[in-house]
Symmetry: D2
Subunit: 353 residues, 4 copies
Amino acid sequence: MIVIMLSEACAPVDRRRIIDTVQFAGTGLRVHTPALLSLSGDHKKIAALLADEPCVLDVAKLPAAYPRSARLKGRPRTTPVPLGNADVGEDFTVIAGPCSVENRSQLLTIAGAVKAAGAHALRAGAFKPRTSPYSFHGLGVPGLRLLAEARELTGLPVVTEVVDVRDIEVVAEHVDMIQIGARNMQNYTLLREAGRTRVPVLMKRGLSASVDETLLASEYLLDGGNEQVVLCERGIRTFESSYRFTLDLGAVAVLKERTHLPVIVDPSHAAGASGRVVPLALAAAAVGADGIIVESHHDPAAALCDGAQALPVGDLPDLMSRLVHACTAAGRSLRFETGDQVRGGGLLDRVHS
Amino acid sequence: MIVIMLSEACAPVDRRRIIDTVQFAGTGLRVHTPALLSLSGDHKKIAALLADEPCVLDVAKLPAAYPRSARLKGRPRTTPVPLGNADVGEDFTVIAGPCSVENRSQLLTIAGAVKAAGAHALRAGAFKPRTSPYSFHGLGVPGLRLLAEARELTGLPVVTEVVDVRDIEVVAEHVDMIQIGARNMQNYTLLREAGRTRVPVLMKRGLSASVDETLLASEYLLDGGNEQVVLCERGIRTFESSYRFTLDLGAVAVLKERTHLPVIVDPSHAAGASGRVVPLALAAAAVGADGIIVESHHDPAAALCDGAQALPVGDLPDLMSRLVHACTAAGRSLRFETGDQVRGGGLLDRVHS
Amino acid sequence: MIVIMLSEACAPVDRRRIIDTVQFAGTGLRVHTPALLSLSGDHKKIAALLADEPCVLDVAKLPAAYPRSARLKGRPRTTPVPLGNADVGEDFTVIAGPCSVENRSQLLTIAGAVKAAGAHALRAGAFKPRTSPYSFHGLGVPGLRLLAEARELTGLPVVTEVVDVRDIEVVAEHVDMIQIGARNMQNYTLLREAGRTRVPVLMKRGLSASVDETLLASEYLLDGGNEQVVLCERGIRTFESSYRFTLDLGAVAVLKERTHLPVIVDPSHAAGASGRVVPLALAAAAVGADGIIVESHHDPAAALCDGAQALPVGDLPDLMSRLVHACTAAGRSLRFETGDQVRGGGLLDRVHS
Amino acid sequence: MIVIMLSEACAPVDRRRIIDTVQFAGTGLRVHTPALLSLSGDHKKIAALLADEPCVLDVAKLPAAYPRSARLKGRPRTTPVPLGNADVGEDFTVIAGPCSVENRSQLLTIAGAVKAAGAHALRAGAFKPRTSPYSFHGLGVPGLRLLAEARELTGLPVVTEVVDVRDIEVVAEHVDMIQIGARNMQNYTLLREAGRTRVPVLMKRGLSASVDETLLASEYLLDGGNEQVVLCERGIRTFESSYRFTLDLGAVAVLKERTHLPVIVDPSHAAGASGRVVPLALAAAAVGADGIIVESHHDPAAALCDGAQALPVGDLPDLMSRLVHACTAAGRSLRFETGDQVRGGGLLDRVHS
């Protein structure tokens, strides 16, 4: 695929001329944004045609077909995505919280601990995709309301998964970042609709999705106009069965070469056991990921889902202080979220009132 | 999981007593149908409690948690699913047709050839899930209308994929069997809604779904009350890259042990090249599959998608006659669909008029 | 890789001139046989240089680097390998027998049944590669002697595995075909030495070897001068755990496109359970394999290794008659080995005397 | 498997009585060392029989069958393996050097840089297992001599691979640690013979070996009496093709739970590209590995093998200083090898003399 980058300041008349010039030089011309065109064809020939156009910043030949997620010359290495006080893609970001919203007390207790540890955002599922129809599927909309309350009390932004295209609107109203889960990474309908919102999206790599397929899936979001996309490696399916999934940190290194989208890591699902979560989280930071999303619970044994892999909230402070060193190894900083943003204070009092 | 089979003739009062008896003997009791209960617990203890109940046909201990798709003692090995004149799960069934509906002439030409070869159903995509948002995504509803016309002209039942939960109704109105594609096997929202229709469903195994996850996904359909479910092996993702996917015929053998649902095979996507389609189709019949679904085109080089793996329609008669022998090896018969059902006649005339 | 085929009748002076012509046109020129040269370089240029050489039959561009195993234009599709009265690669060949030689009575009982069923060769392990050092590792040389005796009594050729390079000589003395097991497919020392013998070799594909790596491994055998090589697909390692290995029949189809070496299939290790062996064996025949090698035992429950996957010898006749149909589907014949070659007669009497 | 740990000070008469007591309580009793017995059987029953034996330190039930590599209660978490001035398993160990010994100048230049960077050992291949018989296979014994010279000049211990069982003796004479490569992890003949030496062994996990199979393979070494075994994760084979192998750091976490053998990581083969080597090396340190073995070259573009993944030696100092932080994250120290051990000095002078 040939990608043509134009100056943002390119006048319409110049853009029109450029389009006229290249439209028959290749096939499948698309105008993704005023400054980004793509088509298939002979790179040399197209570059030659545009050699004298001052508006053209770059005529790049991509090895694959993802014009909007690809890292391009003359563009920033990473496009940060705001999440509360954090910018995912700049400082290292830690998102923590339970597998699912179970009840008010559980969520607020965990949210308080996440906040106290200095992590940057709260995660918890209100809609859970489960392998069996007979398992717990989450609280639904009441769960979203509890998430909104936790945000109100702690000041932490909240992240939650959406599984049904018909729920996108209500989810987008309640949370700061919508998660597309691994099982839905190729649910293109869901991606298209999430791409139409203007809420940041966290898109997990599918269990058997290649790096390139992951980037192509992100194009569904970007093509809809939603430019706030964060990718997440969460483990792939391989022959090994001594843990739950194979955390693919090599893919993180490759993604950071190929895309300007921030890339975070979920160490919990791969680990399958809480004792492995911290080591994998540190490895994720050391390999150069932009953050982690980690399942954490105040009472893992009682968790309604994935308790075995939940990091006790009491272990979050140690994780945070170790992450500082792993981030230093990777040449990156980790800023602790401080309490300044807590609106209203007295969180635990409120929780138990 | 413990599964309790009751006689269909069990009186409500007896069923009520049985439920009262077991409900505290285990956890998670579910009444799937009047004749099928499931719960978790101690198999011996529960079997003992029900030893004197004449209504109870079987108290089975399943190795996994799919009560409705599991093959049970005292039940037929296979539950046939009607598709036009065929019953998938009885005689070997051949479904053929193009990757996508491209236009009227293309579809009717291929449909005529499929019919002439003696195959049993026509497949073609109106809604195509594509890895890239910039690829051809199918004709949509006009494609469904062409499928209905092809059915009218040939008498062949038609099968097509649905990818958006909001399209289920319109698809169900136009076709004889709804396909859930491999990428959507864990799109539980789509499964739930397809389970609420009463149209037969062809559910493809996911690219990296285990046999047990495939059966659990089928429970979403069955749990919704749709009992007409056919499974389809279509190749899994492995390290091998000399073809497109690894066709997993061992999984077909395992599925036939574990489920009463019919199991067919798609040899086309795994093959990735048309010369390998016939060998893999024959292998599928020999291993004991209940049928195949094969991509076929009258002009593969001009196909809008997956042309490389499309079997030329001229090769269908040879495939059919070879399948007879492979079916014989597996101890099964293959009945050619005859022309009797063609309503209206003069197909090719109509096509080109 | 560029491969240059010469006429077998090419005069030395002509061959010398051809070599002089091409040796600086590419790199890494190798003279594999008097009629087969290979080098890396520009195909067009090299073909042009040789355009007027009457000795040159073909200048082929291979997608991969296996000049001697590759199927070449102007050469037979398959190079048969003699095994007793059979030629592997012509009629479909059935090799059967126990996982390991356990004792004289066991081996001769099974050999008699294999013979009676009309199969073509006997397999049994004298040296067993086992995952644990604490498992049964075979009888060693006494096992080889029993194999030789079984051959003497039944007339069936025998196939056994070699695992130690230092045992090749003694194994080659006792058997008709040496097996290189899957775990040793990249034990290049063993391959090199087996390539120096003139005993036919059955080389199994490694658990995670690609098709191309399998062909490259066979080059170690062929490069040593041993041209009697049979490949064997036996299942690869994937995420699926409901059976033992994923039998990769798609790879058989690809191998038959790429190599002139015969390709057989071991359905037993993939199956992991005897009830799946016959279906997978039939699928192997239907996909176009040149034969099967199947574990079979007269008393599977008592077998010292892999009893769960051993086909009871009583099931061999049914397998043979079903294979006839599967072979017909694939356009190939299956000739039953008759009793004519039994030297000495009275097999069962002798066994039990 | 039941493992019985005895006190090292157990008197022969007591040991004899213990053996008599348990030998019929289970099956397959083995006396691995005077202090370590194993058998299969009923854990409770065997533990009860030994309840009053003061010599018995532990009666452990292992989930798998590797009595000698398993981490056992009352034993050190890690058994260090000496390598020059380092103890692999204590401080973090860095082994670096070229894919293969190419010539004296190349090896000594790289060795000097490895030493100068503060790494702990030199690696380089004299015997190379190559997928194709037509590739460069190493210098052989002359390469070993160059390795010995590099050790003499730098004081660095040297590590090299052995691929042929007949070369073990000569390799053991020249180097400080023998490497068993990934392709030979199930070459049990080679493992058995390496187990008979008393030279430390670095055993790489196979491309598709499970964690448990890796530990079972190490038992071949330990069972031969060689207790100086280091394991190495180097990437597994999966569907992903955007890099060379999938580095499986989750397996490192699991190995550290299950075995007392040190576990190091080779980030180079997985990376396949030098820019990914440092990130993966840091991740290995952060996840808790005991060291790394990294391919490094002074002129990667000219390397005879694997140049694309060779870290330029000029990047080693930066790697070392980043590793310090990653080790801190994992709660471990990294000690730089200082120049004190250089015997004879004047390395570069000598190299170029």
